[in-house]
Symmetry: C2
Subunit: 257 residues, 2 copies
C-alpha cells in the first residue's frame, strides 16, 4: 500500500505542513520506504519532485519541506513497492500532456491483470499504476479528441476508475491543474479548512501549525490523504466507490460508482 496526498485551494497555498506529516510515513512512522513524489501546479505548469529513496531520508524531500512552494493543486505520493522495482521511472506521481495541459496522477493500491490500451500514451516504467493512468488518458482521448469541460469528462473518469477497481484496489488522485478528481476504492479522507482557522497538530511528527496566522478569511483549502494527517481536527472519510471533484478548495460534485 502507498499513501496519497492531495490539495485543492482557492489561493496559492503551501503544503509544507501536510507534506511534513506524510513524509514521516515514508520509512519512519510508516512502511513506505520505496520512494515518494509530489507535483505542484503553478498555473498550467507542473513542478514535479520525485525520489526513489525513502522520503524520511531523502535530500530532495528535505528541500521540499524547507521550500514553501505555493500552489492551488498538489498531488503527492509515498510508495511501498508492490509491482515494479524501486527506481525513478516507477515513482509516482506520473504526468502526461493532454489537450495542451499537464495531467498528473497518483494511485494507491494494486491491480491484477490490467490490460491497458497503449494507442496513444504508453507507460515508461513497469507499474500497474502508470499503465492505468495511460489507459485512462487513452480512453479520454478516444472519447474526446478535442478539449471538453470537466463535467463532460467526468463520466469517462468515473467509468474508468470503476473498471480498474474491479481488478483490485484503486484509490487515486488526478488533476489537470484546474480541477482535482479523487476516487476512493478502499481508503481516502478529506478535510476542508476555511475561516475561522484554528491550530492543527500532525499525527506523525511533533509539529503544530496555527493556520489562522497563515491565511486570510477567504481562503478555502482542502487536503485529501489516505489517512487523516492531524489528530485534533475532524476529517471526513470517503465511502468505498465514492468519487469527489474538487476545484479551488470546494467539492463541486461527487457521487458513487
Amino acid at each position: 500500500m502507498c499513501e496519497l496526498l492531495g490539495m485543492s485551494a482557492n489561493v496559492p497555498t503551501d503544503i509544507v505542513f501536510s507534506f511534513t506529516g506524510l513524509m514521516q510515513r515514508g520509512g519512519r512512522t510508516g512502511p513506505h520506504r520505496d520512494g515518494w513524489g509530489i507535483g505542484f501546479y503553478e498555473g498550467r505548469g507542473l513542478r514535479l519532485f520525485q525520489d526513489p529513496r525513502a522520503s524520511s531520508e531523502s535530500e530532495v524531500a528535505q528541500l521540499v519541506q524547507r521550500y514553501p512552494i505555493k500552489s492551488e493543486v498538489v498531488i503527492g505520493h509515498i510508495r511501498q513497492a508492490n509491482v515494479g522495482k524501486v527506481c525513478l521511472v516507477n515513482t509516482h506521481p506520473f504526468s502526461r500532456e493532454l489537450w495542451g495541459r499537464n495531467w498528473c496522477f497518483a494511485h494507491n493500491g494494486q491491480l491484477a491483470g490490467l490490460e491497458g490500451s497503449t494507442t496513444f500514451y504508453r507507460p515508461v516504467g513497469e507499474t500497474d499504476s502508470e499503465a492505468a493512468f495511460c489507459d485512462l488518458l487513452n480512453r479520454v482521448r478516444r472519447a474526446f479528441p478535442e478539449p471538453v469541460s470537466v463535467e463532460m469528462l467526468l463520466p469517462v473518469l468515473v467509468a474508468s476508475c470503476a473498471s480498474y477497481r474491479k481488478l483490485g484496489v484503486f484509490n487515486c488522485l488526478l488533476s489537470d491543474g484546474d480541477w482535482l478528481f479523487s476516487f476512493c476504492s478502499t481508503k481516502l479522507a478529506h478535510i476542508t479548512r476555511r475561516a475561522p482557522f484554528g491550530p492543527a497538530q500532525l499525527k506523525d511528527a511533533d509539529l503544530k501549525v496555527d493556520f489562522q496566522s497563515e491565511t486570510t478569511p477567504n481562503d478555502v483549502v482542502t487536503v485529501i490523504a489516505t489517512e487523516p494527517l492531524t489528530d485534533n481536527e475532524q476529517w471526513s472519510l470517503y465511502q468505498p466507490g465514492e468519487w469527489r471533484l474538487w476545484r479551488r478548495g470546494e467539492c463541486i460534485t461527487h457521487g458513487k460508482a
Copy 2:
C-alpha cells in the same frame, strides 16, 4: 538568447561542475535572468528541475549544485525570455512521452511564424520552443507510429531542425534518455573528456576541478554548451547547420543540414 547545456556519458556522472558555471550566466555573469531548468535521466526516468527565477538566485538551483545527481544524459537551459512570459510553463527543458520513453528538449534561439502541428502533442505554454518540440514529435509520430532505431529516426530529426532553422535561430538538444541529439544553427560547442583526465577551470566562477580524482580510466564524458564553460581546455565549435548524435559520451554520427 539562452544558454544550453548537455551531457552524454558512458557512466553515471554528475554535472555539478558544468552546471555551476552555467548557473552564473543566469543573472550574474550573463543576462539570462528569466528562468532555468535541467533534466537528468536515470535510466528511462527523467528528473526535471525548473525555476522561472534567475538561476543565480534560485533555491532549487542551489540544491542541484549541492546534490550530485549522477546521470548518463543531461539537458539544461537558462533562459532570457523572448517569446512568452516568465513562468514555469515557459521554462525549458520540455518533456513528453513518446513510444514509452521520456523525451526531453531545450532550444536556444527564436523562430518567427512557426505553425506547428498539434495533431498529437500540444504546447502547454506560449513559447516558440515548446511549439517546435511538439511539432517535431508530431512529425516523428506521423512517420513512425511504432518505435524505430535512432538511425532510422535521424533523417526526420535533421529535416525538422533544418526547417525550423529557416524561421530563425534554432540550436537545440533532444534526448530520449539513450542518445543525445544536438543541432547547431548558430552557436554550440562540445568537449569530450577521457583519460588522461586533467584539471578544468570554470570561466564564469572561481571553481576548479581535477577530473582525474573523480573519474576512472574508462570514463568518457561529453559536455555540450552554447559557449565553452572552461578556459583551460580545448572545446570544439559546431559549424552552422551541423548536427551530432551522442551516445554514452561518444559522437556516433554527425553531419550538416
